[in-house]
Amino acid sequence: MEAKTLFDKIWDGHVVSQVKDGPDVLYIDRHFIHEVTSPVAFLGLEKRGMKVFRPQNTIATPDHNVPTINQHLPIKEELSRFQVETLRLNCAKNDIQLYSLDHQYHGIVHIIGPELGITQPGMTIVCGDSHTSTHGAFGSIAFGIGTSEVEMVFASQCILQPKPKKMRINVEGKLLDSVTAKDIALYVIAQISSSGGTGHFIEFSGSAIRSLTMEGRMTLCNMSIECGARGGMIAPDEVTFDYIKGREYAPKGEEWETKLAQWQQLKSDENAVFDVEFTFDAADIEPMITYGTNPGMGMGVNGTIPTGENLVGSDRITFGKALDYMGFKPGEKIKGKKVDYVFIGSCTNGRIEDFRLFANFVKGKKKADHVTAWIVPGSKKVEKQIREEGLVEIFEAAGFALRQPGCSACLAMNDDKIPEGKYSVSTSNRNFEGRQGPGARTMLASPLMAAAAAIAGVVADPREI
């Protein structure tokens, strides 16, 4: 039998039909939706006089637009309120489970899926959101789609999709102190560039990847889209199964045993061939931070901003434009640069482990006076856990306040906007121009780096504080 990759096995098992010289018709097991990319798809469906074909396989949550304080009050901004309300109406009309703002399971779409046990190994999962790649951490094929494709899933529980190529990224060895999954992600993207994965689906493997917790694996797969890949995945193992067991939607009893036996088979065959393969040494990875306007413009915290000397033509123009926007000069040290805002949260780093890491670091220290910090849990469950574990007290003693769940400053669709020209160290996933508000200057980093910046008031190496 031909050796297959994990990706092949899952994909091939979900092909309903093949279009000659065209895409595959791929069956979708789980479909997540949110308020921003679903309304036009619902409208399209309505125009066809149809309802959602398999509503029980779709899960909805409003996350992009929601405020992160006073969530019990009506949303102030009219357009946001209307979009959230439209989601509610559409879900009610189509019998879709909605975790609305007042629900105990509310949260960012890519946080709640795994947290509730909805995300499981071997599944195909889509959402009108590029960071759907997060769910790949469980050994599923998960990727972001556009609104036309959301409508396809509504109408048929399938999408038309050409099969991507396969890439494997191995990270071997032991991670250095204070290096997290986020640093692995930023390192890999800096190495292969923000478009290096285009056309591919990545499988992450190697001993450093195996050593990550589920939360770390989610952070890494979340960021796989930032190198242009369709998604990233990690073969499930005991860590995965332990995480899923007992969660709300996890299989129970006999069904658990059956599923577990299936899940244990989910791995790439020994001699499976990948179109592209990279191997990195974990020991080369430093705590990372970005200095430019795409996630590939990252470096170790003790590094210097590149000069861009070797770049030519439009590459050079683009590089110069990025540094201008950031207000940085080639050859400068990034350590010691002033920081105005710190954001910890998003579907990249808004899970309980991230807040534990942050709390552990700031415990007994004080936030720098000039820094504004937004601490935004990824879900209601995470928020509850933060309270139960006493992290709130640590935050408060150090001068931080806890907010309510949502996407928040990750994309600044709500009020959490970084003001023009201000510098933010952010645990989110994108540092594009204006991503955190018009004119905002974003430096992406791990929760630990964010904590160090919040305490020092400047970009700092957490190992030195």
Partner: protein, 195 residues
Amino acid sequence: MSIEKFKKLVSRVVPLPIENVDTDQIIPARFLKAVERKGFGDNLFRDWRYKKDGKPNEDFVLNNPLYSGEILVAGKNFGSGSSREHAAWAVYDAGFRVVVSSFFADIFKSNVLNNGLLPVQVPDNFLSEIFSTVESDPTSLFEVDLESQTVRNLKTGSSVQFEINSYKKECLLNGYDDIDFLISLKDKIVSFEQA
């Protein structure tokens, strides 16, 4: 239902020689709050096109009366970032039917195709040639022919072929709609679920 057909187009081009133009630049998140597919074209490249006071930024190409046309030509890795189809809608609504670059991000590419907009990927040197042709004469015309999968610089006569999945080509040439096609497979889908 159907999408707008595309066969052949002869037009001037609007050059945007910037690389890694991400979807947050194509349409910033704060303009994604509509629940209908309307009016996105006005906010295409919003933060480059308008100054902070809301006045048009005259240095930006879309505000430059020298340039017009239905073909947008951009630097490599166009459309990276978010899956927001609003980016494709914005480009389309602003009057473009073709986007030319030397490299497209995956999700953006499928989004534009699903909206009757043709992504044309050309080699880097051909892209540079387009930019220099337009720079020396903004009225230069270009021809994009889907049937033969060619894009031609009518000023210099040079041309290249571009790739497109044959299924998508059929859809665009005939205005076929993916969702009608999927619905027609319903029996197959149901038996897949039961297997």
